[in-house]
Symmetry: C2
Subunit: 281 residues, 2 copies
């Protein structure tokens, strides 16, 4: 693991690392914010943040303003990249497939299956690395934006007990019914849509056995809301099953990082609350 | 004046505009954050933010996290570009001269004199436009980073009574003695260094007649501190003259936007305090 950048921020450190990933078979880059409490020898809880289409580890780091609140709460934030990258990694000319668009799944179809194993990377390999190399507890929570909101909800729902809570900004809640999801799942998973269900948060929530606190913020003026996101489908399933979900539709807000920055503090405090309820770690 | 973007942010609006500038003779782009109080019909005070080398109006807007505090304080923030731009505007291959490097002065030398009149633009034309077109008071304050810190201090010192206060992050405090300043001033103003003094904050502070509250944050690990910035020279002059200055050297911090984001809240509260002391407006 090689440190490639380090910035003092809000009394803590924002750092970027590169390492070889066994999951993807490539070099992967991630960022981590370590709050000031780490300098004093305290182990801190970890929030995983999954970014959206076209993003790297850097978008959330520079634009969301999350480090300020993480410093106050004593929470680390881990920001992985959104796909494997490099000359040897399959790619596509469109922004919503290939590099920068990994959809947090394990691809089964050529040419993607060789390296696109972001589910294993984010759900298994990266937490193991973080918990081995940094002063953190085993208490985890997870959040994300758009494609990363899909990733956060889906990974948390598939791994009961592993995350204290999940939250998302403008998540792709039902990718099997969204053009973005259908295009990506067809390419990565093939035409048999029965294999898609394990990556669809609405399907997973319908069949989940263990309640998970959920917070979703959605901009009412988001251009992608009418066709791609469908938070109401997820909220309806949660309500029918009596599950804890808060869906907030924010008037005037769009899909941008200005929207994320405006409400990230609420999300961090939500995760901090549920992380405190976790026994052990 | 044409609106080219609008984002809901922290209950207010972050907007970008393009307009023809009489000062530069070009199209100019600026951003303005209008806090929620403007929606309710309240006129708000204005902070001008001047960015550093290579920046546009967008760097501070997306990376500093200032809108959160501006929304709380009820303060507008105006973010001009750092130079005229376009195919007809003289440029240079280096990052510290030409487009993106206007140094907030009026150039007198060919080929720069035709359009590089950022002093007139920022000190005169832009405030007049803002005060005509937006729900703002005539109470102004000014801040900036690096080259923009030089601009903020210099413009405030040259215009007593026009700004409630000035602050800066890692400003070029004595450009006549810094390689960045010497290169730019030679190109824009010519070899006669006596013409440079009117753009040098140390010189201006030495001869100023009216005290101006000053706050400067400087990262101790800033790579440019040893050669380019010289905040101690400014602090020494202020101290010798019994002027109000706070210079904070922040251990571990560098020249980046992580540094700015970490302390921008203090600067906005400093400006809000001094803006409240202004009579009238």
């Amino acid at each position: 693991m090689e440190q490639i950048a380090s910035f003092r921020a809000f009394g803590g450190w924002h750092k970027r690392f590169r390492h070889h990933s066994a999951s993807t078979g490539t070099s992967m880059t991630f960022a981590i914010y370590l709050p000031p409490q780490c300098d004093q020898g305290t182990k801190v809880d970890v929030l995983y943040w999954l970014s959206g289409l076209t993003c790297t580890d850097d978008n959330f780091a520079t634009k969301a303003g999350a480090q300020r609140v993480a410093a106050e709460l004593g929470m680390a934030i881990v920001m992985p990249d959104t796909s494997p990258r490099g000359a040897e990694v399959a790619d596509d000319d469109s922004y919503d497939l290939g590099q920068g668009a990994g959809f947090y799944l394990n691809a089964t179809q050529a040419p993607w299956a060789a390296h696109y194993r972001m589910y294993d990377y984010v759900a298994e390999e990266l937490p193991a690395l973080i918990e081995r190399e940094f002063p953190v507890t085993l208490r985890r929570s997870i959040s994300g934006h758009s494609m990363g909101g899909h990733g956060a909800l889906m990974i948390a729902l598939r791994n009961p007990g592993r995350y204290a809570a999940a939250s998302a900004f403008a998540p792709i809640c039902q990718p099997t019914a969204s053009p973005w999801g259908q295009k990506a799942f067809t390419a990565y998973l093939g035409d048999d849509s029965s294999t898609w269900q394990n990556y669809d948060s609405c399907h997973l929530l319908q069949h989940a056995q263990q309640a998970l606190p959920l917070l979703i913020d959605q901009g009412e003026q988001d251009n992608f809301l009418p066709t791609q996101l469908n938070p109401q489908a997820l909220a309806d399933i949660a309500q029918a099953r009596g599950w804890p979900i808060t869906l907030r539709v924010q008037p005037g807000y769009d899909h941008s990082y200005y929207f994320i920055a405006s409400f990230i503090e609420d999300h961090l405090r939500f995760h901090a609350y549920w992380l405190r309820q976790v026994v052990g770690g």
